[in-house]
Amino acid sequence: MDNDILMTILKVVVVLLVFSALAGFTTYIERKVLAFMQRRLGPVHVGPFGLLQIAADGIKLFTKEDFVPQNANRIIFMVAPIITAATAFIAMSAVPFIPGVIISDVNVGILFVLGVMATGLYGPLLAGMAQANKWGLLGGARTAIQLLSYEVVTGLSILAPIMMIGSLSLIDINNYQAGGIQNWLIWTQPIAFFLFLIAGFAETNRTPFDLLEHEAEVVSGYATEYSGMRWGMFFIGEYANLFTISFLVALIFLGGFNDLGFIPGAIAILLKVMFLIFVFLWTRASWPHVRPDQLMWLCWKVLMPIGLLNIVITGIVMMV
């Protein structure tokens, strides 16, 4: 029993450290990929290939002044970034990253992950409302409408695969797709896959739905008044969410950590996640932002009916 607890703590620490480091590394990859897609070089001067840029940014974040604006609500302002970072890592506790590495196999795993990730949106919302800044307030309001729009799509899109599998545990979902590419859920549920991916973009505030801190419109949205490590926590939370969503998509639709021919499962899922992260960056380089009203239009008038239709059709096919 004691051994179990020790093991769990060890896993928690490893996951925390690995994904905090990965968040930094992903910023480097993001800057490089975006640069290449715009025929630029990206960071090149700090260290070999600009790799030490991450360290430079880290030092900058850690040594910046921890600043609270004059009329801000002090406590909420200081707590808000912790909510984002904490929920992002709590959500990871039910995600099986590679075979055998899961902190706790909850039997409602997918519900738990999505629920905690949705809670994470309280971070931007409270931050936007606490900072006594109109851009922050706009960012906070956008958080609310974004949350209300995409959560419906996430839930409806994930319902159809769950109906087929009959379990909410991510391990069961993974095992359902064992035995090669032809068993992946993306072939039987392509619509659910796209809906979930679109909702994932909204959930992680990635570019087509990057309304919360759209520089061109609301300066930096909810993060306008933040600096130093408090801003850094928003940042780490955002990238941790990016990884969680990528792992979820890989687990639910792309065959998870099942062996892929000669590739062992652990490497297979990492490859899938890397590809999905690349897709996230790729779309950021290619597609424009949408307006908040367009996001609501898309989620409520287009994606939600399609999701409902998908559930009905899945149900009919399963009955017949």
Partner: protein, 211 residues
């Protein structure tokens, strides 16, 4: 496009319609049904994925086909036009290296932002000698009147545009502006205003009547 191509390209930059593409804009939908049809057509023709394809192609070109557009500035520098009007130079006499300026004061007079100042005196041979010549670059608008008006082609505009310094005054004393004696052989003569550009041959094009 590599740095070398870019260099060539900037030299050939002139009006022309090579490589222009006429963009066809289809009619805006008028009825709801037309708007629906347009939206469905665009969705089913995978327009978003075509966009992804374009960015991927660009990345491929940038990484593997030597078309990176970045000019890494302090190491690589873009060529500037030979007629570029940057920080002034005082040309020297080729034989003696002496200042060519005769101290007539025309540049001082014509300067519309009043930024040229010269101190002169009559020397022992009853010739006018320029003791100090300075240009306040904080005021200078680089109009080129001083170079245009100079009867001896002594004050001209040079190509040195990198004037980052702790003080503007670092560039503009007579000693800084005057061509040093050991560099007098490399001194480029200024043809005066109205002369054709030194790289005119490269820029020449057929007149429209010729084709």
């Amino acid at each position: 496009m590599s740095y070398e191509d870019l260099k060539k390209h900037t030299n050939e930059r002139s009006t022309g319609t090579n490589g222009y593409v006429q963009v066809e804009i289809e009619e805006y939908p008028k009825t709801g049904w037309e708007a629906f049809k347009q939206a469905m057509g665009r969705t089913l023709s995978m327009e978003l994925f075509k966009g992804l394809g374009i960015t991927f192609k660009i990345m491929n070109q940038a990484l593997f086909k030597n078309q990176m557009h970045t000019v890494q500035y302090p190491i690589e520098q873009m060529p500037i036009s030979p007629r570029y009007r940057a920080v002034h130079k005082l040309l020297g006499l080729l034989e003696s290296g002496n200042n060519r300026c005769i101290g007539c004061g025309l540049c001082e007079k014509i300067c519309i932002s009043n930024c040229i100042r010269m101190e002169t005196k009559i020397d022992e041979k009853s010739r006018k000698e320029v003791m100090e010549y300075s240009i306040n670059l904080g005021r200078c608008i680089f109009c080129g009147y001083c170079a245009e008006v100079c009867p001896e082609l002594a004050i001209v505009h040079g190509g040195r545009y990198e004037n980052a310094s702790e003080q503007r005054a670092h560039f503009v004393l007579k000693d800084d502006l005057l061509t040093p004696f050991d560099a007098i052989a490399q001194q480029i003569e200024y043809d005066g205003f109205g002369a054709i550009s030194p790289d005119a041959d490269q820029k020449i094009k057929k007149t429209p009547l010729a084709y």
